[in-house]
């Protein structure tokens, strides 16, 4: 197979079937565009490097798990992941506590263990499990849109192209899916908080 001339879709299929060279070609082909996109948002080379790495780790995981929905839109999908990770980066920075200069400084007032302890991890897993069960009760059309948006990380434009409905319909289905999920939570008396 001529990797240079191969389409993204063909390379993705090759990679899913276990050919690691296909990934190398895909990264080489798109690295400049994706990295430049990230840098244009964060203006920091080290952060761009981290976000770029996280983006492709997510791409590799999704492809290897067989959860990628091929529609010949590899680059927009990767860009979307990068975009979401850039937003996450800014959100994290916003949440970073600021040091207040007082006489009796205590380092633990600034630093805290951000990792989940075992109890919180179990609760988080339980919540995710409950939510997955709830989602199954949604009507088919709402379930489809919600899964594509949340689990496959697709944009509403991609969802509308994939399902053959307008963007507004896809948005409406997402809205009703969330409303129905809230109703189901109430109906089952679930408490989905940490």
């Amino acid at each position: 197979m001529d990797y240079i001339k191969a389409t993204d879709a063909a390379l993705v299929q090759e990679f899913i079937q276990g050919n690691e060279n296909a990934l190398s070609t895909l990264i080489n082909r798109h690295q400049q565009r994706i990295y430049s996109f990230i840098y244009s948002k964060v203006f920091d080379k080290d952060v761009s490097e981290d976000v770029f790495q996280d983006t492709f780790i997510k791409v590799i995981n999704t492809l290897k798990r067989g959860k990628y929905n091929e529609e010949g839109k590899f680059l927009p999908w990767v860009m979307r992941i990068a975009h979401n990770l850039v937003i996450d980066h800014f959100r994290k920075n916003k949440r970073m506590p600021k040091f207040q200069n007082t006489g009796d400084f205590n380092i633990f007032s600034v630093l805290s263990d951000g990792d989940l302890n075992i109890e919180k991890q179990i609760i988080k897993d339980q919540i995710e499990c409950d939510v997955q069960e709830l989602i199954k009760e949604l009507p088919e059309d709402q379930l489809e849109v919600l899964t594509m948006r949340i689990y496959k990380d697709m944009s509403f434009k991609e969802i509308s192209e994939s399902t053959g409905v307008s963007i507004n319909t896809a948005l409406g289905r997402m809205r009703y899916a969330l409303i129905n999920l809230r109703k189901l939570i109430e109906k089952h008396n679930l408490i989905l908080t940490n």
Binding site: S36, I57, R65
Partner: protein
């Protein structure tokens, strides 16, 4: 011959940016090391050295 002292535009500067080779190598090695085994509805991730 006159010298040009103008800086390239931000767009031009951005077009020349690339990630480090180490980052790319890490990603390729990560991909080679990652194995995902599926058993019924469960999937197990393994990083093989």
């Amino acid at each position: 011959m006159e010298h040009l002292y103008t800086k390239p535009s931000i767009g031009e500067q951005l077009n020349k940016l690339n990630p480090k080779k180490e980052t790319l190598q890490f990603l390729l090695n990560y991909s080679k090391a990652l194995r995902i085994n599926k058993y019924k509805q469960l999937s197990f991730e393994m990083i093989l050295n």
